[in-house]
């Protein structure tokens, strides 16, 4: 099996056009990174950025002393810029972090807002739990599902606090960044659309079946696809994280996910690192799902061009249908963590609330298994398998 796996990698992946396309798409991705950063941020955490110095002084554990200092500094800057004598200077002044009093005022406000968010975070959670308790009381005896849902919320949002002020821009961008997953999907389409079709077109499938290895090659091909998806997802994740990290820094990855403003009401109390890991795993699963569909289409076609065309149209249809399907039932939702981590969304499974971040990956996994079984039935006809086994007795 190991040797067959190696040759499947060689047949499908280690081809010059594949490597060239991947390199080209990586360059496009890097360009897209800078575009995304420009759109969402200003690179102010870079060494020459506006936030760099003030952030350096205040990042880390939030203490009363730091809050007092930054508040005092903010008041000082406010007094300067509100003074009737204040004129906007032409040149930067070394006394200020940013070179300018009004710049420091704005930056200090940023720091204060972040610290305020952290200190007041518990209030948001208390409010949410109170609502849940009210819901439990209200639905008790009327709607069991709603009661269970509220109980889950009360359980999920207990014991939370943020103690650290840090820059989480890199993680924020990564968790909602979709483009690299599109690249992974394009690569899977390009690499695996010919996988079975080419085999049929050149007669290799007949040799494989005459060797009684249709099932082994089927497994090797799928292992190759899983490995490819894993490697591409890993490369994309590292490229995204490192690229965004170069603009915002990569500190405080162990802090809770709700330290990021966009995930204030994240249903899971997990670290940023775990969230990044889950995001990468879900993107991997989405890519595998696409890979399974592409392999199934490939197994039904003898013409490589038609296999490409049908795969392309099918993936297009999946993306198009994503807009019409409930997001909790569309595997394509896994492209972006905002679909799962902005608030607790539940799916009613036989009267029990299941978080969509748990439900959708399981559903996708089941879909993958179903597509895989159909593909197996198409590419390894039962009769061939039976012949291979029977042959051990001497007569076919």
């Amino acid at each position: 099996m190991a040797r067959l796996f190696f040759y499947e990698i060689k047949k499908n992946v280690l081809r010059l056009p594949v490597l060239l396309l991947f390199a080209a798409l990586m360059l496009v991705n890097l360009y897209k990174h800078s575009e995304t950063v420009q759109y969402y941020g200003d690179g102010s955490y870079l060494p020459d950025g506006l936030m760099y110095n003030i952030y350096g002084d205040y990042k880390g554990e939030i203490t009363d002393e730091k809050i007092r200092q930054i508040s005092a500094y903010k008041s000082e800057m406010e007094a300067i810029i509100n003074s009737p004598d204040f004129v906007i200077p032409d040149n930067p002044d070394d006394r200020y972090y940013t070179g300018f009093a009004y710049g420091d005022n704005n930056m200090a406000e940023n720091v204060i807002n972040e610290m305020k968010y952290a200190r007041e975070y518990i209030n948001n959670i208390i409010l949410l739990r109170e609502k849940a308790q009210t819901a439990i009381a209200f639905y008790e005896g009327k709607n069991d599902y709603k009661v269970r849902e509220a109980q889950q919320i009360e359980l999920l949002y207990g014991n939370r606090h943020i103690d650290v002020y840090g820059s989480y821009g890199a993680y924020s961008l990564y968790l909602d960044y979709e483009f690299s997953t599109f690249i992974s999907m394009i690569m899977v389409l390009f690499v695996f659309a010919p996988a079975f079709s080419k085999q049929k077109a050149i007669g290799d499938d007949k040799i494989i079946r005459s060797c009684g290895k249709a099932k082994s090659v089927f497994i090797a091909k799928h292992l190759c696809m899983y490995t490819f998806c894993a490697v591409v997802t890993l490369i994309m994740t590292l490229a995204d994280i490192l690229s965004f990290g170069s603009r915002y820094g990569l500190e405080f990855i162990g802090q809770p996910i709700y330290a990021l403003h966009s995930f204030t009401f994240a249903p899971l109390d997990i670290s940023v690192f775990t969230a990044v890991l889950i995001a990468a795993l879900m993107r991997f699963l989405l890519t595998v799902f696409i890979g399974e569909i592409v392999l199934l289409i490939s197994s039904t076609q003898k013409n490589v061009g038609i296999s490409y065309a049908i795969s392309f149209c099918t993936i297009g249809a999946i993306i198009f249908l994503h807009g019409s399907l409930p997001s909790d039932f569309s595997p394509f939702s896994m492209i972006c963590m905002s679909n799962f981590m902005t608030e607790a969304k539940f799916v009613n499974v036989l009267g029990f609330p299941v978080l969509n971040i748990v439900f959708l990956p399981i559903l996708t996994l089941l879909l993958c298994v179903a597509v895989n079984l159909v593909c197996r039935a198409v590419s390894c006809p039962r009769r061939t398998v039976r012949i291979a086994k029977k042959s051990k007795g001497g007569a076919v």
């Binding site: 290895k213 039976r386 291979a388």
Partner: protein, 287 residues
């Protein structure tokens, strides 16, 4: 060594009708080249697909007569019709891939792959990408992959289609060299390929064996049924539409026609020595 094909039957459903692609096909094969000849739809491909395990059969058995082998398919080398290759593989890579498929693991895999390529005169091109191979080289590589693992039975399905004369001669020579200790089944439309290398010819039609024998035996069976006549050019089409003409040669103003039939086409027709092509024309008409 004997390979016994016994009572193989295979039928398909076409519309509401059931059609027999193979009907009680029985044949015992020993070392040497067997030429499988028959018109389209004769059942050659079905037979090959059944022997190679690509499709199942309704009934019958295929086994070595000594019964010592516990797996018939593991003793099989197969070159399918119209086969091609992965362009990014080198010849050596490809042979090693086939070794993986056949679970064949000699001590020195590289050396074995080179020795296989050597047998089809491709050793010098072992590290060349197959994408740069000519049609003939690819065909020889097709033979090379079939002999990986030293199978006892080799099956070639239309192996010389599209080859030039030189490559076809080379192919025939390779096949002859392999046939000494193996059963080789050669299915082709090109009768001359079989005429040169096959020790036994199997004529098939309608899923059944019509005739089996050496070329000499088959030719002698129709001895006195192949005629040569000289004809004016304006009568050639008439002969062709009424009789089985296996050859027509023009010498400018007149044609020499070779006609297969139980009775002489003209009184002055001259009986000539039959060839394998004449045998095919006699049994199948136009192939």
């Amino acid at each position: 060594m004997e390979l016994v094909l016994k009572g193989i039957t295979k039928s398909y459903t076409k519309g509401k009708k059931r059609k027999n692609a193979l009907e009680d096909f029985t044949l015992t094969l020993t070392e040497g080249v067997y030429g499988l000849l028959g018109p389209n739809g004769a059942g050659k491909s079905t037979l090959i697909n059944i022997i190679t395990g690509i499709i199942g059969k309704d009934s019958g058995s295929i086994a070595f007569s000594d019964g010592k082998d516990n797996s018939f398919l593991s003793h099989l080398g197969f070159m399918p019709q119209g086969m091609d290759f992965y362009r990014n593989f080198t010849a050596k890579d490809y042979i090693k891939y086939i070794m993986a498929l056949k679970k064949y693991s000699p001590d020195n895999a590289d050396e074995y792959a080179l020795s296989v390529l050597d047998r089809v005169n491709l050793r010098a091109d072992a590290d060349k990408k197959i994408g740069a191979f000519s049609g003939g080289m690819k065909q020889r590589l097709g033979i090379a992959q079939a002999i990986v693992g030293e199978p006892k039975v080799l099956i070639f399905d239309e192996p010389t289609a599209g080859l030039d004369a030189k490559e076809r001669i080379r192919f025939r020579n390779v096949i002859s060299s392999l046939a000494a200790d193996k059963i080789v089944i050669l299915a082709t439309h090109i009768v001359t390929d079989i005429a040169y290398v096959a020790k036994t010819v199997v004529l098939m039609n309608g899923g059944k064996i019509i005739k089996t024998g050496t070329q000499e035996e088959l030719c002698s069976d129709i001895s006195g049924k192949v005629w040569e006549i000289t004809s004016e050019s304006d009568k050639v089409m008439d002969y062709m539409s009424r009789m089985r003409v296996s050859n027509a040669v023009s010498d400018g103003s007149k044609y020499t026609l070779r006609i297969v039939g139980d009775n002489p086409p003209e009184q002055d027709a001259k009986a000539v020595q039959p060839t394998l092509e004449d045998v095919c024309i006699y049994y199948f008409g136009d192939m």
